[in-house]
Assembly symmetry: none
DNA sequence: ATATAACCGAGACGGTACGTCCAGTCTTAAT
DNA sequence: ATTAAGACTGGACGTACCGTCTCGGTTATAT
């Protein structure tokens, strides 16, 4: 470090935004490069060019850093589409969700944090309150909009139906680690639409 | 160490079964008591009354110990029932699965290992090959038996349908951490039976 | 850890002198109490009330600690006397040297390190450069002063003569482990003086 | 090790001489190749193609093995010459001693054991009783023979004089690690002969 | 302008656990 | 009776991070 460039050394206005960004980026990079175990507070600080204490001043641990890193990325990556028709929105959103979870860095961070939630229930509670509940609201948006538009009956249990739509996706991502093709999500969406439409018709002939 | 009691000190027959059992039990107990972070190789050895090297001789790390502990426990905890009728077997199995996953020590070990599979892909591959594939076969048993009995059409995609039945359960356990009541699993089973029966036209006229 | 006492926890001034002293003292004590095999890095750290990493931060191993402990002790224990007459200085110094080597804790540390120099040539080279060369200079001081005063002929081979004076002492200490009495060192000194005085012919007529 | 060759697996006739030789050779080799720290009981057993327990059955530790290895080699390497004249025997023996100590594998083993004697006083006592005393007798042989022949006065203190002759050699080997040339040993011998001859003559003219 | 407060870097500290190596003991089956 | 094989307890090794602490320096604001 022989550079003579001017660097931030603190001020009384509050935290250094540059340091904050560098830390989040470093955590993201380390996770992508070396996996969750390769993310350490010391490693984050070193790669961000920041003192370890600076990281600890603002975050309680590496998972807290990753949560912040995730929050920045995820809202934009996972905005449900809104074409005005459930038959378009639902398959599109399921495909988008499957892709993000299984094939992006954001998904990797997400999986790591879901994993940490199993290992550390206290973290899990905070993570769910802070982040996951918001994600569930996003997951429900397509159905809720359809209800508002009258496409779906008002009495439908949106939360339960959403579980059945996204549940298999998370299951494949987290448990079986199988690839999720477009056909898989399309069939999921199609069968759902089929069922809810027939249910309110003259379903059972007997 | 002046005790004269007889203890196992190794012999050419191979490993000590007593040590093996003690290690698995210790790992199980530690996970239940102190969580995943509280399980350490040193802690396992100490609680099992065994030298650390003995644990390392047979397992590569704490997750390997937990996998073995899980394998022993899980086969008996999760035997799918076989009453000969899918309408009985399916709800019973889903309820059993939900209970084991969310409310038993075995479930806690399972969640910890699924979590570790996210953190460590190499472990994940081994864990899935060694254990999860077997578990998926168990999950599919109710439907497969029903197909064999002729209760379900032979052309049904058992794997995909199983995903839709158990996916929401794993999702609730791993992601949302919400309690899963008997009504939840019953509705899952009921809706599935409803759908597959109607799909094949006016199947059972009564 | 609810104590509120003030302790050193590191600062940017560099290392803790208290920790350094505690480590050297602990190493010294352990060697005296339990012998060389009883000196371990873990033991040193534990007895010094210091983290193991702190010892490793500043020393590469137990022998390095002992070298530092020795350097502190030895300069004062082995200051050659300077009465201005070789006939006084030489027997006094040889007796002092024999005593320190064979009957003090400092001597025990010295012997342990000489031993380690046999076992580990790389350590030996460093030890000799760092410490032994200085000790040899001390050993030569009585003769060199005598030459400077004109008591001894300028052409005398001080290094070789010193070898012959101290060599038998080290030999007895390291090899035969026999006690060295005052008569032994006095005869060594006396015979040396006798020889060098006669060598130059009718030297001191007066 | 898939060989099916016949190997010794014990018998009721007593210890295996082949195993004994293999162990001693293995210890010697390991010391020469990897230094004292590289000699371990497990390593000896492995290299000798012998079970660890077999080594422990006959030796108490690696130093005991090395002592046995040394005893076999040393008697022949260090036999004092006997030409019937001290002026020939003494310089020859000193040169031989210096060479063995500083430039042979036997000398390396010897130095390692002298070192261990510093670290472990109990071993030191045994080593000196078992081996070193015999070596000291060998060291004194040239002078004792000269006394018997009348070359030296009967009243001479052979032990003390031997200390002064070999002490500087051991000192250089163990402490300073300087090379010992033939001139060094010759001067040692010459000066000794000079002194003891003049002492009994009309030494001090005054 | 000058202090002062909030932040920054650097890095030493007490700890815990890691995974490895070797010591020395014990048991067994084969010779 | 001795051997090879090898599992066992136990302890130290040297390393990696943890989370805490202290210090000296930087800089905008409040005096």
């Amino acid at each position: 470090m022989t550079d003579t460039e001017r660097r931030h050394h603190g001020n009384r206005h509050g935290r250094s935004e540059a340091a904050r960004q560098a830390v989040l980026q470093a955590a993201d990079d380390l996770l992508a490069e070396k996996g969750f175990a390769g993310v350490t507070m010391e490693g984050i600080a070193a790669r961000a060019g920041v003192a370890k204490q600076t990281v600890y001043r603002w975050w309680s641990g590496k998972t807290a850093v990753l949560v912040d890193a995730l929050v920045e990325d995820l809202a934009e990556d996972l905005t449900p589409p809104d074409h005005g028709r459930l038959a378009l929105d639902l398959p599109a959103y399921l495909a988008q969700l499957a892709h993000v979870l299984s094939a992006t860095d954001t998904g990797a961070v997400f999986k790591a944090l879901i994993a940490q939630a199993q290992h550390d229930p206290a973290f899990g509670a905070g993570f769910r309150a802070r982040y996951l509940d918001e994600q569930r609201r996003r997951d429900r948006l397509p159905l809720e909009r359809a209800v508002a538009r009258g496409e779906l009956p008002a009495g439908i249990d949106v939360a339960a139906e959403t579980d059945r739509l996204v549940g298999p996706l998370y299951y494949r991502v987290l448990v079986t680690d199988e690839p999720i093709g477009r056909d898989y999500t399309d069939r999921l969406a199609h069968d759902f639409l089929d069922r809810v439409l027939h249910e309110r018709g003259p379903a059972a002939p007997g």
